[in-house]
Subunit: 133 residues, 6 copies
């Protein structure tokens, strides 16, 4: 039977495209020296325990997380960039991602949505460039 | 051709079950005396313009809004109550609603999720009671 | 020459109508046993130092504070109630207060504004009742 | 009779000085390719419906919006930059803008106010340079 | 060797006084029907993994959590009540708890601190009453 | 007897190491031209009145402030950088600072903690470089 770490790693990989966009592995590597356990918690708890639960599709989980980060404001912009990539890897289209941000205008106002769309535009372009490279 | 108000009213009604749970019409009525235009903006802009856009299903829009309100903390609890009802009317199951809240634990922490689940539990019970009444 | 405390007390009184609405003095009294210095800081720093500065009218200061509390979400509802009263005492009309909340819809979204308007409505009613009493 | 778009465009222009500072038109242009309707909503809803309402002066509306963005924290810094420019175009003086930020110290604490003042300083300098250019 | 659940349960108990104040067990019980795994995650991840780490004393961990909840605004008031109790059970004095809230005035402003102190006052009284009962 | 300004300046200096890391004096200097009183309020109120109170150690005060800024999200990153330096100057170890951020994962979620750890890593490196220079 798989450990939480193995289950989490497998799930995290299914949300990751190492060819395209920034990903959790780079981020965890960058903090490995000062916070070695951080990556373990992300893999075991976030991806092993939570993302592995039933009743919601991968796309719906990605949508839920994206909406939360947009709502948190660009205070979470680096994280937003990461999860726009995750959402695309989970199978959401660029149009669905933009649309989920537009849907938040009446609930968080224009400023946070504008910051999020600006970040989305940047991610879409980077992925196109990487794909063409 | 329908006006924005007519389109919005139709869309809002499709997210409303006046038999069950609290709904936007009660809320707009309560503020009609001091802010008569508020209801018009909710119907024309939020439901007429935004909820009527393409590329996302009703369920996905409800999920996106729910995630945003959970992230805003119980500062938006009265609104959260309203949109848990909206989400159920849009066709999300209780399990999907709970699951979308559980998915946010790694992104907003336990306290906001616990407050949201407490509110969801209250709404589910009220709807059962109204259904039995 | 007046002390900061005397200046602050005078300024705070100019924003207070002990006949109507809740006020800072009740609030400071309620916390006097566990946080005796809190009231001193509110009077000396908030009202003595800050509210006494130049370049903005009393109404503009009240408007700025109100907008901040609406933006903080109903997490600050008890404070919002206090400062809706302060704003009225500073000479803003009910219409101007409602209008400043409506102006925030594109910047914070409907939920926080709806919570704020609900609070404003409550305060306006209480003051009318006290006036009639 | 003017359409909401025409009314909004006229109002937005009255808050814009294309010679000085960043403005909404640049911002909407930048997102036109991925979110073509965003600009329409900003013009029709924010400026056509909301900014055009009665009972508050242009300066008071600008002050209210500025206070909200300062309170939202530097998560909205790009938006704050935009609206410091809007506030100056609406006729608020640099001193009034700084003062409205100082007034928020007791309500949001020093960090958000320091970030806001740093942004204001940057905008004031850029406008002076553009004016001298 | 202890499981994460056993370690977590032991740690959680060391922060709990079932005689006094509200506690996590009541809270988890209340949500058991709709979110049975929530309690497991709180015990295994929050208390088993995180609270069990080295380099910070129990008091310092309680202080850190308290400061975070005060900063989140009264959106987390029910949680704040829980963690004021946790902090007292961890060995912080009432004076230290009040002081940590006063220390936040320059960083979050008066409103959030006033809401937090009001909550602390309520918890202190309830515990005295329970102790006398 | 010392004035509030003298007391505050002395306290602020005890949290400052002008050799290492960014500090309040640079920050106040940068805003002196547009907000000359800001520095006075930081020294008199924040450091003179608040940091000088009893019942909490310097380390505990630094820990409380750090936790608040992490919770405010990277909206306060420039301030967070300042207070990571303040915390080190107050005698907290790098390990204790990292640990206080890890402790917040269950209360604010991974994104804000990841942003904070990234900032801490940057500050630790800068101080090492300055020390070696």
């Amino acid at each position: 039977m798989k450990t939480r770490y193995e289950k989490g790693l497998e799930t995290l990989r299914s949300y990751t495209d190492e060819e395209k966009g920034t990903n959790h592995f780079e981020l965890m590597k960058a903090l490995e020296d000062i916070a070695p356990d951080l990556g373990t918690y992300i893999i075991e708890f976030a991806y092993g325990d939570i993302y592995n639960r039933d009743y919601l599709s991968k796309q719906s989980r990605a949508l839920t997380v994206l909406s939360s980060l947009v709502t948190q404001g660009s205070g979470s912009l680096p994280q937003l960039e990461l999860h726009i990539n995750t959402a695309l890897n989970a199978g959401l289209s660029e149009k669905e991602i933009i649309e989920s941000m537009m849907q938040l205008i009446p609930y968080v106002g224009f400023p946070s949505v504008i910051n999020a769309l600006t970040q989305a535009r940047k991610v879409f372009q980077e992925r196109t460039e990487k794909a063409l490279a």
